[in-house]
């Protein structure tokens, strides 16, 4: 029973902390994933959808005006131009295709900002699989356009009213659904979180981002960048762009949400900076860094960007942070908004508030020199979904 044990973990992080009901499903999923991940037919089909449906490869764009403004060469990885407006589709096409190969009739998912839910809706419609998405009731209000988008594509959106009514609770509810319907249903986790094999599998599907950057930057600069900066909630866009560079001499920066302040109470954190301030714990099937109180109760996290608003983080990121391979850092709500406006104004690109956290870190870190001369920033999504939030902040 322990033969798969080492491969389920990143150092001490990861694992499979789930009810027994789900264990056979996780083992089945692991088997299928291992069978198809290097399968030529599967990969040819996935490549076809990534290219002709999702619009990949996404451009690597030299932001010349922003570079001039900030003082170093800034390349933007344009995941905002992927179909649906975010990197999320890379994963849902991969998992959707795998679910089809596994013969699953139904897909369920959780969503925070609604970007993953939207990407699930697209994959569900594309592959003809019935799709239901759990979304925190609070998030359905602040991201109502995404709810409507999902519904247009035939996905049922189920508002979650338990707990803090955000991403954490949507994951709880999706897991409860999966426990009841595990034989017919695939749970399409949207980030590099959850029990094994999800953190590994989602990372691999998202690694298309970093693989493209490798080719694109060599073509433009003849060398790798000095640093890569990505926003981090669960961490799928970060692992996607980092993973192909982990063995290279490139500094990696995981930018979390500092929210309205780096403070916590017994019940809540005013931020979502799990790598920066979290402690070892077990949540949503994985051992990782977790925002929790002294007893181990999970805190309600907070961020202006719904997609970063999560009390956990992918176990591989926790591991890479522990061994010093990536630097965890954070940007505040206000800094993210400022960087959002910079990119709109200087480059004519409206980034997601999530991605704006990465841009904000570049802005403030340039002075220290730690980013080097050439930085790649993952613009993980576009900001159209955030316009109401930003308009609400206008004074």
């Amino acid at each position: 029973m322990s033969q798969a044990l080492t491969s389920t973990k990143f150092g001490k992080y990861g694992g499979q902390y789930v009810p027994e009901i789900l264990m056979p499903a996780l083992l089945e999923l692991t088997d299928y994933y291992e069978k198809y991940k290097d399968d030529a037919v599967f990969n040819a089909e996935l490549d076809h959808y990534l290219k002709d449906f999702a619009g990949r490869p996404s451009p690597l764009y030299l932001a010349k005006n922003l570079s001039k403004e900030y003082g170093i060469k800034i390349y933007l990885k344009r995941e905002d131009l992927v179909h649906g407006g975010a990197h999320k589709l890379n994963n849902t096409l991969g998992q959707g295709l795998l679910a089809k190969y596994m013969g699953k009739k139904r897909i369920i998912a959780e969503t925070g900002a609604g970007q993953h839910g939207t990407a699930c809706a697209m994959a569900g419609a594309c592959f003809g699989v019935s799709t239901e998405v759990y979304m925190g009731a609070k998030d359905t209000v602040r991201q109502r356009m995404n709810v409507y988008r999902m519904e247009l594509m035939g996905t049922k959106v189920i508002p979650v009213k338990s707990g803090s009514q955000t991403l954490k609770d949507a994951i709880n509810e999706a897991m409860r659904d999966w426990v009841a319907n595990v034989e017919t249903t695939h749970y399409m986790i949207g980030s590099v979180v959850g029990p094994h094999p999800f953190p590994t599998m989602v990372r691999d599907f998202q690694s298309v981002i970093g693989k493209e950057v490798r080719l694109q930057i060599l073509e433009k600069e003849g060398r790798f960048p000095d640093s890569i900066v990505a926003c981090t909630g669960g961490g799928s866009n970060a692992m996607g762009i980092f993973h192909p560079f982990v063995e290279e001499d490139v500094d990696l920066f995981a930018v979390e949400a500092g929210g309205s302040g780096m403070k916590t109470t017994d019940k809540e954190a005013l931020h979502s900076a799990t790598l920066c301030t979290g402690e070892d714990g077990v949540l949503h099937g994985m051992r990782t860094k977790v925002l929790q109180n002294k007893y181990g109760q999970i805190l309600e996290s907070s961020s202006i960007a719904a997609g970063l608003d999560y009390a956990g983080v992918g176990p591989e990121l926790a591991y890479l942070a522990d061994i010093g391979r990536l630097k965890p850092c954070y940007s505040m709500d206000s800094e993210a908004l400022d960087a959002f406006h910079d990119l709109c104004r200087f480059e004519g690109i409206i980034p997601a508030l999530e991605s704006s956290h990465a841009l904000a870190y570049v802005k403030k870190a340039v002075a220290s020199g730690e980013l080097g001369d050439i930085v790649v920033v993952n613009v993980s999504g576009r900001g159209d979904k955030d316009l109401e939030t930003v308009m609400g902040m206008r004074t």
Binding site: G15, E20, I21, M23, G163, V179, H284, R287, Y295
Partner: protein
């Protein structure tokens, strides 16, 4: 009291066991003692006392609500062990909680606190055998039973492994899904009882709320039933709670001795 001893006593009397779950601190820390006493009066054989966790993924709406009331009422692990120590029960007491609370307290300290406060078993619904090696060793050293769950989806290989490790009793999850009272007995329940071939007692939980269901499950070959949501519902109503807990316990206990 050790769990095995209790099952031995019951077997000698040809009775099935009634294991009752409530959440400690639901709705106040003070209420728990009164409710446990009422359950014992009603004939409950083993008490499973929940230690509330903020993100209970294996629980349905009823127990989620109970857990929320307990957290709002101020229940903490420290207070939990103090409360348990003051109970002075003559029947086995089991803690049911999620792994993060054990992990955060420290495995060794948690198990020692259990042993010191009179807890004889631990159930952790989000800890499959793959991840439970460390806790199992510490439990064995401290003579506390780590109770494993098996489900209708559990494969034969996993079943063999779990039955070899499991202590106290084997917790049979009656149906796919989360906790919550149902009116029927799933067909998968009988099949699962037959598949679990072990000398360790077998107790069935998830969805049981009446004496009739309990009788069917004992008749199908189980050694006990676990009832949670039906009791937590009574606590949630706030109406004549001790009386109704005792009455429901008595009704279900009748079901498990009627064979």
């Amino acid at each position: 009291m050790r769990i095995a001893e209790k099952f031995k006593q019951l077997k000698a009397k040809n009775e099935g066991a009634l294991i009752a779950y409530i959440c400690a601190g639901d709705p106040t820390p003070e209420g728990t003692k009164e409710y446990v006493t009422a359950l014992v009066r009603g004939g409950v054989d083993i008490i499973e006392l929940g230690l509330p966790f903020s993100d209970p993924v294996a629980d349905g709406p009823t127990i989620q609500a109970g857990i929320q009331r307990a957290l709002d009422g101020g229940m903490t692990p420290d207070l939990y062990f103090r409360t348990v120590s003051s109970l002075k029960l003559h029947i086995p007491l089991i803690v049911m909680t999620y792994y993060n609370l054990i992990f955060k307290r420290g495995l060794e300290k948690f198990v020692k606190d259990c042993a010191a406060s009179g807890i004889s078993g631990i159930i952790v619904p989000d800890l499959p055998p793959e991840e439970s090696g460390d806790l199992l060793q510490i439990c064995r050293k401290n003579e506390v039973d780590l109770i494993y769950l098996v489900a209708p989806t559990t494969t034969e290989t996993r079943m063999e492994h779990i039955l070899a490790e499991g202590a106290g009793f084997i917790y049979l999850v009656a149906r796919l899904g989360v906790t919550g009272a149902r009116s029927d007995v799933a067909t998968s329940t009988g099949e699962l009882i037959k598949r679990v071939k072990t000398a360790t007692p077998k107790a069935v939980g998830f969805g049981i709320s009446t004496g009739d269901q309990a009788a069917q499950i004992i008749h199908a070959g189980a050694d006990g039933v676990i009832v949670g949501s039906a009791f937590v519902n009574i606590i949630g109503s706030g109406q004549d709670v001790p009386e109704r807990l005792e009455a429901l316990a008595r009704e279900i206990k009748k079901g498990v001795i009627s064979n």
